[in-house]
């Protein structure tokens, strides 16, 4: 199955071609600043590359149904480590990576189509698609690699593309996007450093190389052993990497800033694909994590806290994309909460549904921003449903899914997570409570966003801004994603619902070969589920709070800004804290960035220049000073020279006489 290599290779080639097209465009533009050159081709090249990759991914997907659960390509012996070990990279499509690859290429294709229209007219059109294709290639390498090393390649590769794409409009807004890109890269690098250490620890502890299958097998074989602290540490370090990539606390602050990039980028990278790679990694190594219950607990707590922290921050954002960014962080928190309780399937389920509805929301937001002439502030929108009906309709579908309104995809996936947490009992009830509160906040801020954007009075300058519906190339992907967001839930119906219609939990069955080992360690068998009555109760409860909070959020804001202003007037302190996202970013600036800068200057000036270099120069100067002193002996007077020569000779004579020579 060496055609598997084609899946990442095609977008990569597409990227190179787009890059060349960009170079040609620049050349053409040098002669004539208005020329477009061949850049228009880039969109087609990029879409073609992704489309072809999607086809190959589908082919691989169909190859792993039934008894064959995975196909692997020939390995590429990448880095020979020493005489015996080599870091190999191979392409592996199994039930997990196959599903992820479909999401990446499928959603990726839709976003490419959307972007081909959205980015029209941008001077960096071809460059944009070069980056975007490169991103997809790297993401596919991340997902499809059969080893940690290969994943790390993709891991850093997507970080790079994220950096490039966030900073795509580097000269706008006084260079802010470039700063945001840098921040994203550095934050990711903190995670990557942790990832590296985890990888090395696994290598030295298990001694089976870097292949997932070997690592999982070796880890599973150590299950129940006493001394697994080091493996747990490795798991924790790898989770540190996941935190960076998936914007979990404490490395969460880069994602909201990442919205400085073009909207399709936010949809593709910062909602649907890259940020979920942390979840992917944990599912991929589920036996390892299953062996480390303490680490799982940490993951659950981090996930729940992040979910709550981000959802609360989303409540008061004015920037349309800002709300979506915090929402994304929050939803990722849900996924980690699921992972922390061993609900691998629920996590992946939420990854997929989230990819659909969050991509939809982002693209919808992009459509709105596009229609509003690059306006992102919701306070300057309102009443747009009349101007952009298709965008409005699809946005509603996405919002409904996000807020967990019953029967939509988000409802089922989120509910499965909460149910799994509830099932754990004990201290996990606390986390469940936090999850429920987060769900309420989610419903509230989602419908606040919808109300502020599409309802109420038009708060923009009608004479200057003429909102318009986006062209079909943008709305068609929205519709497809809307449909997926609505019906996406069928792949994982709760078993009580499934029983009614005699439908199994497709995703659960599909993923079973991947999660079997982890479940075996955790539960000594397949994962249990709640009693039917409890589950019905929870479903009902979830529906109720979703509806209630959605209603609250919508009605408070549908008449414009009055509702919001009164609320903020009532709780000014809370509003202030939340709008700054609990002040985390500022705290980092004050507690880490500023002291580090100071330390750097201190080291460079005081320690290095004055201290070390000062010592070096002092040696030089002391030699000079000694020379100045000794210079007096050679004052140029011959008599003096003679004197010293004579004295020297006399001393020598004395010594020789003394020695009896």
């Amino acid at each position: 199955m060496n055609s598997l290599w084609l899946i990442p290779a095609l977008p990569f080639v597409g990227s190179v071609v787009c890059g060349i097209l960009h170079a040609l465009t620049l050349k053409a533009r040098k002669a004539n600043p208005e020329a477009h050159g061949p850049s228009a081709l880039a969109g087609f090249v990029a879409m073609g590359a992704i489309g072809a990759a999607c086809v190959f991914a589908l082919q691989a997907f169909f190859a792993i149904r039934g008894d064959t659960t995975s196909v692997v390509s020939d390995p590429w012996a990448w880095i020979p480590i020493d005489g015996t070990n080599t870091a190999n990279v191979a392409m592996l499509v199994d039930r997990l990576s196959g599903a992820m690859a479909l999401v990446v290429t499928g959603v990726g294709l839709l976003i490419h189509v959307y972007a081909s229209s959205y980015m029209k007219g941008d001077p960096g059109y071809a460059k944009f698609f070069a980056y975007l294709n490169l991103f997809v290639a790297m993401m596919l390498i991340l997902i499809l690699s059969s080893s940690l090393v290969g994943t790390f390649v993709g891991w850093e590769g997507v970080g790079l593309c994220s950096y490039l794409l966030i900073g795509f409009w580097y000269d706008k807004q006084d260079g802010w996007p470039a700063v945001a890109g840098q921040k994203a890269f550095v934050m990711n690098r903190i995670g990557d450093a942790s990832f590296l250490l985890g990888m090395f620890l696994l290598f030295t502890q298990l001694g089976v190389g870097f292949d997932y299958s070997a690592i999982n097998e070796a880890a599973a074989s150590r299950a129940g052993g006493a001394d697994n602290g080091m493996l747990a540490l490795a798991a924790l370090l790898l989770f540190g990497g996941a935190c960076g990539k998936s914007a979990q606390l404490p490395l969460s602050t880069w994602l909201p800033d990442a919205m400085a990039g073009p909207t399709p980028v936010s949809a593709l990278i910062h909602a649907a694909t890259m940020v979920t790679s942390g979840i992917y990694l944990v599912i991929r190594l589920n036996p390892l994590y299953a062996m480390a219950p303490d680490v799982m607990y940490v993951i659950a707590v981090v996930g729940a806290l992040t979910a709550f922290f981000a959802a609360s921050s989303a409540l008061v954002q004015r920037d349309l994309k800002g709300v979506l960014a915090y929402s994304t962080v929050s939803q990722l928190g849900y996924m980690f909460l699921a992972l922390g309780t061993g609900a691998w399937v629920a996590a992946l389920f939420h990854v997929i549904t989230h990819a659909f509805f969050k991509a939809l929301l982002f693209l919808g937001a992009g459509s709105v921003i596009h229609g509003m002439h690059e306006e992102q502030d919701m306070h300057k929108m309102g009443g747009l449903r009349r101007h952009m009906p298709r965008t409005f309709a699809t946005f509603i579908a996405g919002a409904a899914a996000l807020s967990g309104l019953p029967l939509l995809s988000g409802f089922f996936s989120k509910d499965e997570i909460l149910a799994q947490v509830f099932l754990q009992g004990g201290p996990m009830y606390l986390l469940w409570g936090l999850g429920v509160v987060t769900a309420m906040l989610t419903a509230f801020y989602t419908w606040r966003m919808v109300a502020l954007t599409f309802f109420g009075p038009e708060r923009f300058d009608v004479d200057r801004v003429h909102p318009h519906e986006s062209p079909p190339l943008m709305t068609v992907p929205l519709m497809i994603l809307a449909v997926l967001s609505v019906i996406g839930g069928v792949m994982g119906l709760p078993h009580v619902v499934g029983h009614l219609f005699h439908v199994p939990h497709y995703l659960h069955d599909w993923l079973e070969p991947v999660t079997r080992a982890g479940d075996q360690i955790l539960h000594r068998g397949p994962a249990p589920h709640l009693a039917d009555s409890t589950e019905w109760l929870l479903l009902g409860f979830a529906s109720l709070i979703a509806f209630a909070m959605a209603h609250r959020g919508f009605h408070t804001h549908k008449h414009g800004l009055i509702g919001e202003e009164t609320m903020q007037a009532k709780h000014p302190a809370a509003a202030g804290v939340l709008s700054k996202a609990w002040g985390l970013d500022e705290a980092y600036q004050k507690a880490i960035v500023a002291p580090f800068k100071l330390l750097a200057v201190f080291i460079a000036v005081v320690i290095d220049q004055l201290g070390i270099d000062g010592a070096v120069n002092a040696v030089g100067r002391s030699a000079q000073a000694a020379g100045t002193k000794l210079k007096r002996f050679s004052d140029g007077s011959i008599a003096g020279y003679g004197l010293w020569m004579g004295a020297g000779a006399a001393v020598l004579a004395l010594v020789l006489t003394w020695m009896g020579a």
Binding site: A639, L643, A649, A650, A653, L654, L656, T657, G660
Partner: protein, 216 residues
């Protein structure tokens, strides 16, 4: 008798040496030096080194001393007071002179101690002087032109170089003429040379005898 003569000559050489060092007028120094050289020549003769004694008289007493005397006279240094109109101190500053004196004393003492510490008794101190002296000319010449031919040639080259070098150094600078081949020195000398009045109106003789003839 010969021994007595030796001690006499030794005393003369020493006294004359001291005279060289302490004399106020360079002329007296020169004459003292001549006396010292002569005394040494006698000692050589007594010791049996006839040729050496002859050379000593010829080269030192003849050539070198005349050179010194000529220089002193040429520069009109016979009486130091006349030169500059005031008495210049003979010696360096007292500290430096003291150090110099101490150094010389230490040196001499060291030499004497060395002489005293070696057991000379076993060495023959009395030697019958043969017919041609202890440095018969035939043997000396044979050695000089065979075994020591290389130093001999080197010495002749040195003498030739000296002759040329002394010419260059002591030649009087005429205005507009470069004193030295070296650029840096000429640059420095050029402004001073014409400005400096030439007290010695008489042209100087070419210094240095033809020393080659001394050896042949």
């Amino acid at each position: 008798m010969a021994d007595l003569l030796f001690y006499l000559m030794a005393a003369l050489a020493t006294v004359a040496g001291v005279g060289v060092v302490v004399a106020r007028s360079p002329v007296i120094s020169v004459v003292s030096l001549l006396a010292s050289f002569g005394a040494l020549a006698v000692i050589y003769l007594l010791a049996g080194y006839q040729f050496l004694a002859a050379i000593q008289i010829l080269v030192y007493g003849g050539a070198v001393m005349v050179l010194f005397l000529f220089t002193v006279m040429l520069l009109n240094l016979g009486d130091p007071d006349v030169t500059s109109g005031q008495t210049e101190p003979l010696f360096h500053g007292s500290r430096r002179s003291l150090i110099g004196l101490c150094t010389a004393t230490v040196m001499g003492a060291a030499g004497l101690v060395a002489v005293l510490r070696v057991a000379w008794n076993e060495m023959p101190s009395v030697l019958a002087i043969p017919e041609g002296g202890l440095d018969p000319l035939d043997q000396l010449a044979a050695q000089m032109f065979t075994r020591y031919s290389l130093p001999f040639e080197a010495a002749s080259v040195l003498l030739l170089a000296t002759a040329v070098g002394v010419l260059v150094i002591a030649k009087r600078n005429r205005p507009g003429e470069k004193a030295f081949p070296s650029r840096a020195v000429a640059a420095e000398a050029a402004p001073t040379a014409p400005a400096a009045p030439q007290p010695a109106s008489k042209p100087l003789p070419e210094p240095g005898p033809e020393p080659e003839e001394v050896l042949s």
